[in-house]
């Protein structure tokens, strides 16, 4: 059987970053990625289902009320994310859940994370958007805050010389958005790391102190490969699924694997502006629309950013109006509403905040992934608080906050975290502070599954920095 020092499952932030650092330390690394290698030509500007299905894997919750998806391909979510890369505010690392449990390990603070944030920012060439890069709907959102005496900050991105075409979440067809395939992956390949695409890992088996990884290759043939060390970084949905499918071969699997699924406190809504305000053109420009407000962080522990919204996404939301807009997202009223409002008067927005991870990922008898993200009373109360903040912004601008229904996109879609979380408490957290899966030898989790709670902002930079931190530990650089 082929053997490597380290086998890594998944090539997103959690996989590619350790792949580079371990290769730099002279380890023989193999990365197995279920998706394909891409070029800019792989990214059609197309929001239709068939194009989206090639770029994302999408799951609906068992009750069909929530959708979660992730980008698939060499580079994982970095291919099709909107590329906002922000450091989590300090308080994120002090967050305590409903049981007063500090979800981040005491040894991981913002101060500890800073050098690792800096490493990712440098390697991915993250820089702050200029005001000329802020598209119209981001500028109007910033003006709305200014009008109520609040601040908004330009966001950080690994995007340079952007054409502002508005299709980042379909992948950048112009190569302007720097995904992992522009930096970490080629640098690791240069050092000898192998990245095998179209290789889907089914499960893993113990092999002495090491591991056998069982996968199907591009031709569908069953293959096995040995790793002295194993890193699972298949994303917060698939990492626990790989482990749960492996139960037969890993009998003492930590009982919290798959638990604590956290949606990063995401709440989606829309602002509907009065005709007196400038036109929004929410389809123009980068999908994460250039600014974010931290103005509500201190009091409410939420951030809000506008996002360009393709009509397919806006129309797919269960948009309803508390005033004179559509009461249900069906029929003539809704059709006319989308036409009259979409192109000029809507700003889609996403609030992100700190909530407990109360969802679960499981696998069914056929080994297929399922998840639950219940709308608990706590989550409902949080969503209502977010809506109140949104309403205050709307009220100051004669605008209306449009809720997007009690389900699906309102609290789902893009940022699952926490399903194999790191933490200090052996019984609550499957992994120790360095991502080592408790009860196992030489098995590490380094992706969004390991990030133990909400990040207060879009999570990729924190996932990446945490992966850098764990990789530094694995190569003996400490941290």
């Amino acid at each position: 059987m082929e053997a490597f020092d380290v086998v890594i499952v998944g090539s997103g932030f959690g996989g590619s970053i350790p792949a580079l650092r371990l290769s730099q330390a002279g380890r023989k690394v193999l990365v197995l990625e279920q998706g394909p290698r891409t070029t800019p030509a792989s990214f059609p500007q197309d929001w239709a289902f068939r194009a989206q299905a090639k770029l994302f894997t999408t799951y609906t919750s068992k009750d069909y009320h929530v959708i979660l998806r992730y980008g698939r391909g060499l580079g994982g979510g970095s291919l099709t994310y909107a590329a906002a890369m922000l450091r989590a505010p300090s308080e994120v690392f002090d967050y305590r859940d409903r049981d007063d449990y500090r979800v981040w390990p005491a040894g991981v603070t913002r101060e500890v994370m800073n050098p690792f944030y800096a490493k990712v920012e440098e390697t991915m060439t993250v820089e702050r958007a200029s005001w000329s890069d802020v598209p119209r709907c981001g500028g109007i959102f910033a003006m709305m805050l200014d009008k109520m005496g609040k601040t908004a900050d330009r966001t950080m991105y690994p995007i340079h010389d952007c054409r502002q075409c508005g299709f980042c979440m379909c992948g950048c067809p112009f190569g302007k958005k720097k995904h992992l395939g522009h930096n970490y992956i080629p640098q690791a390949e240069e050092l000898g790391a192998q990245f095998r695409t179209d290789c889907k890992v089914d499960h893993v088996e113990k092999d002495g102190d090491g591991w056998i990884v069982r996968y199907a290759d591009a031709q569908g043939h069953a293959r096995g490969v040995h790793g002295d060390q194993l890193i699972i970084a298949a994303g917060a949905l698939e990492t626990p699924a790989v482990l749960l499918r492996s139960k037969k071969w890993v009998p003492e699997l930590h009982p919290q694997v798959g638990k604590n699924l956290n949606n990063n406190g995401d709440v989606a809504f829309l602002f509907r502006l009065p005709p007196s305000m400038p036109k929004t053109y929410p389809y123009m420009g980068r999908n994460n629309a250039g600014v974010i407000t931290y103005a509500f962080w201190q009091e409410h522990k939420i951030t809000i950013h506008p996002g360009a919204g393709p009509p397919a996404l806006v129309a797919a939301m269960d948009v309803f109006s508390e005033k004179d807009g559509p009461k249900v997202p069906l029929g003539v009223d809704f059709k006319h509403f989308v036409r009259d409002q979409y192109a000029h008067h809507l700003i889609p927005a996403l609030a992100i905040g700190l909530v407990d991870g109360e969802g679960t990922v499981t696998v069914n008898d056929s080994g297929l992934l399922e998840f639950d993200l219940p709308l608990t009373e706590r989550l409902k109360a949080y969503i209502d608080r977010v809506a109140d903040v949104g309403r205050s912004i709307a009220a100051a601008n004669d605008a209306e906050l449009l809720r997007t229904g009690g389900d699906t996109f309102e609290h789902g879609d893009a940022h699952p975290l926490g399903t194999c979380r790191i933490g200090d408490d052996d019984s609550r957290a499957p992994c120790d502070m360095y991502g080592a899966l408790r009860g196992q030898k030489n098995l590490y989790i380094t992706d969004g599954a390991a990030v133990p709670g909400g990040t207060g902002v879009n999570p990729s930079l924190t996932i990446g920095a945490n992966a850098e931190r764990i990789a530094a530990h694995l190569v003996g650089e400490g941290a």
Binding site: Q45, D46, A48, F49, R50, Q52, A53, Y64, H65, L86, R87, A88, P89, R110, R128, W131, S132, V134, R136, G139, A142, M143, L145, D146, K147, K150, T151, A152, R163, Q164, G166, F167, F174, P278, Y281, M284, G285, Y294, A295, W297, P310, P311, A312, L313, V314, A315, A316, M317, D318, V328, L330, G331, V332, F334, K335, H336, R339, Y342, T408, G456
Partner: protein, 194 residues
């Protein structure tokens, strides 16, 4: 006078628009016209043949009304080929088509004493709202149907309807693209919260 007071005095919105116009003129880079790139979507519309498909076609028309049900007479989900979502491998709806039609017809009988096909547009919307949470997949199906229309899944009718131009070469130099100047105070010096 701080920036905000200045804005308020000038009437924030008109100043911002002015700023954008000035900045756009100052930007002497060549204009990159959006150059829309939409291509025809291959494939044909699934035509309703069975009773189930006829009922579901009426469902589509209730969700995004077309020429006969929208008083403005514009095309709707049927013209956007949205019955194709039944066949779309992205969704599992094909297996549930008969169940959807049966449940919707049952609800139509309960609420209005007639099959769905014989109801008025308002009655049809009533039925669809009443039934949406009895089968969880239905909400998802409604979304897929709306999204097929407004997102141009099978043709560009819905995109044109909302005024969404679709694929393009970029808006960077379009005058209305950005205000191109600071429009608010920032909390952080470098974009990073402490």
């Amino acid at each position: 006078m701080n920036r905000r007071q200045f804005f308020e005095r000038m009437g924030g919105w008109s100043l911002a628009t002015l700023l954008s116009a000035v900045a756009a003129r100052a930007d002497d880079a060549p204009y990159e016209t959006p150059g829309f790139l939409r291509k025809p979507v291959p494939g044909a519309c699934l035509q309703p043949g069975t009773d189930t498909e006829k009922t579901l076609t009426a469902v589509l028309d209730a969700i995004v009304p077309g020429p006969t049900t929208d008083p403005e007479g514009t095309a709707g989900a049927v013209e956007a080929c949205s019955l194709n979502v039944l066949l779309d491998a992205t969704f599992p709806f094909l297996h549930y088509a008969d169940m959807f039609a049966t449940i919707i017809d049952g609800q139509a009988q309960d609420l209005h004493g007639a099959p769905f096909l014989q109801l008025t547009q308002d009655q049809r919307v009533d039925v669809l709202v009443a039934v949406q949470d009895t089968v969880p997949l239905l909400r998802l199906a409604y979304r897929a149907i709306r999204s097929a229309f407004f997102g141009g899944a099978y043709n560009g009718i819905g995109l044109d309807y909302v005024g969404y131009p679709g694929p393009n070469l970029g808006y960077r130099h379009v005058p209305e693209f950005s205000f191109r100047a600071p429009v608010c105070q920032e909390l952080t010096a470098d974009g990073r919260m402490p």
